[in-house]
Symmetry: C2
Subunit: 260 residues, 2 copies
DNA sequence: GAAACCTAAGTCGTCTGATGACTTTGTAGC
DNA sequence: GCTACAAAGTCATCAGACGACTTAGGTTTC
């Protein structure tokens, strides 16, 4: 095992063994080097890995700390890399998103309060009145996040957040049929919100599933122009019912707009 | 922005802009340092981050390469850190697992072939005949992975694999009622496999959901002894219907056994 | 001519030392 | 008590050197 791997697993073990708990501070770099038997460079690379994965956090001048170790922290670490996936892979993710979003809507319907329902309605009012592409994307995202939060599972919020962040790179509302797409999307949102308000989990679930599936279809057939550039599609020949022909992959730099 | 972050985003942009595609090689370290304006140490830390997240791969003597950028690659990077989560967080993840496992079973039921059905039956025969805790865990895991694979979505396979890897740290079959638990688990597996064989997605879905929920209940109330040590539970006061009282968190070092 | 071997260049992996920046703590002064 | 300041502790970054590994190309051998 290389020096960096050695250090990485050593640090990891300090947490998994219970020696260090969430929020606690690691010993100083010098001590860690001595204990793990590696140089400072290698140790630092190992710490970077742990912090990229959301399990540790380095504070300049203070020390290296174990993160809070909430599932959200770990899952959130995906956010910076899902952006890099080509579109063909994104479609696989949409199947997961559809299932989870649907479940979240059902849970939200079972547990919704007046506060939540009012907030959802307010967001939809603003969204329908909104003409700006970027702002629409933001409101759309908040709508879905509110539902996820209402479902009561922070891990779900984080995972759906990651999926949503990825979608944002596509100019869905900016596509040729943008206005028509947005109208359809607005209606779907109303259906979901209504089902949640009347505590109908089954209706909420299917409305959400249908909404995500619709978005997926737009993505697949309209082939939106990515905003940051494009790279070649990778061939993973196992997409199930996913027609992964020569769909071009792309990725986000400028933040575009999204319909989801 | 710090030097390492600068470098990290620079590297990331090389991919997202389309300048480098999956499998392609980055310029040598020296060139990257010059282009990004950072020292070699900082650059290397940035590369480590990217590789920890599954987006790049460094090969000694050869160069740094962009990964295949399949969703599995990215999601698989979670495997090394979910082990660190305390039990309270794990229960949130089980809700996601239940939903996804259930969906995968339904998809598998719709698409199962003779090969798959035979393989599932063979695994269950072996599992029921098996007395060794560790081997049981392995067979159990293969059973679930086969179903996920049959569902046709590699991203799902990867995500469920991550969840499963985490479960393995708990000695479920080794608990006081281990034999009884394993019998119940075996029966549930048979139900799932049967529903898949007869192409009944609804039955497969509910059988799988029920199986995961059962496992979740065992985990929550039996409080298995973690094998590697334990750390204090973190309080996230938002577990939905999850009763996150003073359940002790733990983590894996020795590979224990699992029922799932 | 083909295969095996060898050599050299290119590249990453690791270590060491030095300097700067930031945080924290304790102390002195008011 | 509060502020200001100084000192110690800690991480951030850079630079240089050497070793290990891979790759490519040429050479030898059969």
């Amino acid at each position: 095992m290389s020096a960096v791997e050695e250090a990485f697993h050593g640090l990891r073990r300090m947490i998994s063994s219970g020696r260090l708990g969430p929020g606690q501070r690691f010993p100083p770099e010098a001590d860690l080097c001595a204990e793990l038997g590696v140089s400072r460079s290698s140790l630092r690379e190992a710490v970077r890995m742990l912090s990229a994965l959301g399990a540790a956090e380095s504070r300049h001048g203070s020390g290296v700390y174990v993160s809070a170790l909430r599932p959200e922290d770990i899952i959130g670490s995906l956010a910076l890399t899902v952006d890099l996936l080509p579109l063909s892979g994104l479609l696989d993710m949409y199947e997961l998103r559809r299932v989870l979003e649907s479940h979240a809507a059902a849970q939200a319907a079972a547990r919704s309060t007046d506060d939540i329902n009012d907030r959802l309605d307010a967001l939809l009012d603003a969204l329908e009145a909104c003409d700006d592409i970027e702002e629409s994307a933001q409101l759309d995202s908040e709508f879905h996040e509110t539902i996820a939060t209402a479902s009561g599972n922070p891990t779900m919020v984080a995972l759906l957040g990651v999926f949503r962040a990825r979608s944002r790179s596509y100019q869905m509302f900016g596509m040729p049929d943008g206005r028509s797409i947005k109208r359809t999307s607005d209606q779907a949102h109303r259906s979901i919100a209504h089902a949640i308000r009347v505590h109908d989990p089954v209706a909420a679930s299917s409305a959400a599933a249908s909404h995500v599936a619709q978005t997926e279809t737009w993505l697949r057939f309209y082939r939106p122009q990515p905003t940051g550039g494009s790279h070649s599609t990778i061939g993973d020949g196992s997409g199930g019912d996913v027609d992964d022909g020569n769909v071009d992959g792309g990725s986000s730099e400028a933040s575009g707009a999204v319909g989801s």
